[in-house]
């Protein structure tokens, strides 16, 4: 009896996020007939695609035993850099030339900036040994400041119809942002579960010292994780910028919290070594469905925040109970 109830708890907790999601979808569709429609479904998916991109990187960082507070600022800077390069050429006075970027060039430059800042995070953490929380807190401020400098505090708008495809167009019936985030999810599920790099991320987060003694180059693994996460934040920045046809200097403020929330709701442990991209996707969906449902039910935006907080606490509480079950 005791044993079987324990197994049941284990079984439920394994699918806890999926269960919560299904229950939420059922509950909201009973209360609002505008919720369970194809249009609203795509709408939710499009809305969460930015958070999904951010959270893939965040998941890998947290599994590796770190944290990244700078994703929102990197998102803003990458979006602004790309938008700026699309709008106007960059003069290089001492060579007497102007660099005029193509659309692809501008986007690649944006992603490169994201990776560079992520790489810088990694350097601070592995070389200077600054704790990830503090290192990325610094970057949160630096990247935001650089965004303000680059945009001079004003939105960069009117980016053209080609760039708008990324955020607003449909392809084979699905929005392009959903394609982008979906493909990235698949790619990184394979990376984390089926490659040596992925295995090493789990090992480093699970036990750094044992990983080092097992011959892993712990610093290089962490450096790559932060660099990749920076690149993914930049991709999120491109999607967000394209959707609004505008790079906002204060885009992405507070996104790091939504991203961490999605990762945690998805069952990834903040102490590292455990978790999955798939869980994070469910976490993003739960937040997305919750937001959409609360809007459709005309719940005040202030209450929406309270409810979101409660969901995060519940997710972590269930996780705690499950782990306590394993300790005994």
């Amino acid at each position: 009896m005791h044993k079987s109830s324990k197994d049941l708890v284990k079984c439920i907790s394994r699918f806890q996020s999926l269960l919560v999601l299904v229950l939420m979808v059922i509950a909201i569709s009973l209360l609002s007939d505008r919720f369970l429609t194809a249009a609203n479904g795509w709408n939710i998916m499009r809305q969460i695609s930015v958070n999904v991109c951010l959270s893939i990187g965040m998941t890998m960082i947290i599994i590796a035993g770190g944290i990244d507070l700078s994703v929102g600022s990197i998102l803003a800077l990458a979006g602004a850099v790309t938008a700026g390069l699309i709008k106007s050429p960059v003069p290089i006075p001492w060579l007497g030339i102007e660099l005029d970027f193509t659309l692809a060039g501008a986007m690649i430059a944006g992603i490169a900036v994201g990776m560079l800042l992520g790489w810088f995070n990694g350097q601070m953490i592995t070389r200077v040994r600054i704790p990830p929380f503090v290192a990325t807190l610094g970057m949160l401020s630096i990247a935001r400041g650089l965004t303000m400098l680059w945009t001079k505090g004003f939105p960069i708008t009117g980016l053209g119809s080609s760039f708008a495809i990324i955020g607003t167009a449909n392809f084979l019936g699905a929005p392009v942002p959903v394609w982008i985030s979906g493909l990235l999810v698949l790619l990184f599920i394979v990376v984390t579960k089926k490659t040596r790099f992925g295995r090493y991320i789990y090992a480093v987060g699970g036990n750094e010292q044992a990983s080092r003694l097992s011959g892993l180059d712990v610093d290089r693994i962490k450096l790559w994780v932060y660099t990749i996460a920076g690149g993914l934040s930049a991709v999120a920045g491109l999607i967000a910028t394209s959707r609004l046809d505008s790079a906002q200097p204060n885009a992405g403020i507070g996104y790091e919290l939504d991203s961490i929330a999605a990762v945690v709701i998805g069952g990834t442990s903040l102490s590292g070594g455990q978790g999955s991209i798939w869980g994070t996707v469910l976490g993003c969906l739960i937040i997305g469905v919750l937001n959409s449902g609360l809007v459709l039910l005309d719940v005040s935006p202030f209450w929406q925040q309270v409810v979101k907080g409660i969901v995060i606490l519940m997710a972590v509480a269930i996780d705690r109970l499950r782990n306590r079950g394993e300790d005994q």
Partner: protein, 517 residues
């Protein structure tokens, strides 16, 4: 000796105590009686269950089955705090003091003297602490910050803390493991006077001489089972040893004569600086190990044995000088990966912190060091990983419910075999083993000795660091002794005995003992 009469009700008793941890039965129906005013020794080998029993009786762990009686009344301790309310205290081996608080603040932690203002009355705390310490060690200032005290003094502060809680039962866990001889004397006098006050003391240790000296009775545990309780005055050392071990030791060690081949590992004046300061952790050590040979390294705590192995394994490239050669070729060992590339494998001292990723499965741990073996087209192959793990689980007879089980649920011996599997899968030519049998049960020890012998037959050069003399004498072909970072002696198997090894390990004996080499 005022051995309490057997008819009196014991202060604290355990009846049929069973404790199960995942994969291990730590205690199997153990009975234990403690009388007021006695010093009761608790002895057993590593893994015999001494510490677990102590934790259960003092409320820090809860038994799976069995009952605890306090003054003959059934009690349940949900945690150590509840036991403390019944005046049962533990003085821990790793002292549990807050380093940045003062002596008095530590002694009164959780029972602060609060004045009418609601603030802590530091003055009267200091005063009362001084009174307490006057009985124990008047040289300790109640206002001193704890981390400025020597370890022996800190231990006395722990005892003062127990006395302040009006303890009537005090558990002492290996109390002499970290203190000097003169401090041991102070401690023993203190124990004597506590006993006269009627306080019951449980003295947990594996040091026989100390137990014979200060206890009234001794309870022996073996492999989690109660063996016997002896009255110390009537007991011979040999009897206790026999009860602890419970078998003839001679068949513990298999040692087949193997052909000693050519030199594999050679160190030439290897030194390692400490990261802080210029002080040398390893100083000018040269050695050579041949294929099919086991070199044992003995030394006391802080002798630099672990540091030596770590230097060879490339863990401290910046602070290491001297050279390491494999098969006569000098290697640049700048990282563990480089060392593994040269065929060096290390089984580290602490398998939980250094050897395993506890939250990962057994199979993932086994393949971690040589992951290329399970890759096909840049992707990890489930099939190859399973085959790889299966072969080692079979070869080393690792007992695990499944290879996908987390490493943390395995018993110590099986965890150690997982670490060995991981290291062996890098196909080492030199195997460095740091305390390979620490904290594992007797059967697993035997299996590991057999494995070491088997690897030796296969022509590996093996270096074993161990603090257990019988173990080193049992498995080594040669034994080197270290003291304060230096090599002080080297003995052949025939020359070595417990006495000359210990002499060479103690500071001050170097001059005489180097002659043995």
């Amino acid at each position: 000796m005022n051995v309490a009469s057997p008819t009196a009700t014991p202060v604290l008793s355990g009846r049929g105590i069973v404790k199960k941890f995942p994969g291990v039965l730590a205690l199997d129906r153990v009975d234990f009686d403690l009388n007021a005013g006695e010093v009761h020794g608790l002895i057993g080998e590593n893994g015999a269950g001494k510490t677990t029993l102590m934790h259960i009786l003092a409320g820090a762990l809860q038994p799976t089955e069995g009952e605890i009686l306090l003054d003959g009344q059934l009690v349940h301790f949900a945690n150590a705090r509840q036991a403390l309310k019944q005046r049962i205290c533990i003085v821990y081996q790793e002292l549990n003091l807050i380093p940045y608080l003062s002596v008095a603040e530590n002694v009164f932690l959780g029972r602060e003297v609060v004045g009418t203002t609601g603030l802590i009355d530091a003055k009267s705390q200091n005063l009362r602490c001084k009174e307490l310490l006057a009985l124990l060690d008047p040289s300790i200032d109640p206002r001193a910050q704890v981390n400025t005290l020597r370890v022996g003094q800190q231990q006395i502060v722990e005892i003062a803390k127990a006395l302040n809680a009006q303890a009537r039962v005090i558990f002492m866990d290996e109390p002499t493991s970290a203190i000097s001889d003169s401090e041991v004397e102070v401690l023993f006098k203190l124990i004597e006077s506590l006993r006269r006050e009627g306080i019951a003391i449980v003295y947990v240790s594996h040091k026989l001489d100390e137990l014979l000296r200060i206890t009234d009775r001794i309870t022996v545990l073996r492999d989690g089972k109660y063996v016997d309780t002896l009255v110390t005055g009537d007991t011979q050392q040999e009897t206790i040893v026999r009860l602890m071990v419970g078998r003839d030791l001679s068949d513990m060690y298999v040692q087949n004569v193997s052909e000693i081949g050519e030199e594999v590992l050679r160190l030439d004046s290897l030194s390692q600086r400490s990261d802080i300061g210029e002080h040398l952790l390893v100083e000018d050590v040269s050695l050579s190990v041949a294929a099919g040979e086991v070199l044992g390294i003995f030394g006391l705590m802080g002798a630099g044995r672990t540091e030596l192995l770590e230097s060879i394994f490339g863990l401290h490239p910046k602070s290491t000088s001297g050279s390491v050669s494999i098969h006569g070729k000098r290697c640049d060992l700048r990282s563990p990966a480089a060392a593994m590339g040269h065929g060096i494998g290390l089984v580290p001292e602490d398998r939980k912190k250094q050897g395993l990723v506890m939250g990962m499965s057994v199979e993932n741990n086994i393949s971690l060091s040589n992951i290329g073996l399970i890759e096909s087209y840049a992707l990890l192959s489930r099939r190859l990983e399973k085959q790889h793990a299966e072969s080692y689980i079979k070869q080393l007879s690792i007992k695990t419910p499944s290879m996908r089980q987390k490493a943390s649920v395995l018993s110590g011996g099986n965890q150690q075999k997982v670490v060995l599997s991981r290291v062996l899968s890098t196909i080492p030519r030199v195997l460095l083993l740091d305390e390979p049998t620490r904290g594992i049960d007797i059967n697993a020890k035997r299996e590991i000795y057999a494995l070491v012998d088997q690897l030796k037959q296969q022509g590996l050069a093996i270096v074993v660091v161990s603090s257990e003399l019988p173990e080193l004498l049992g498995i080594s072909d040669r034994i080197m002794v270290m003291c304060e970072g230096r090599k002080t002696a080297e003995f052949s198997r025939e020359q070595a005995n417990e006495e000359n090894l210990m002499q060479a390990a103690v500071p001050g004996f170097q001059a005489e003992t180097t002659n043995y080499a």
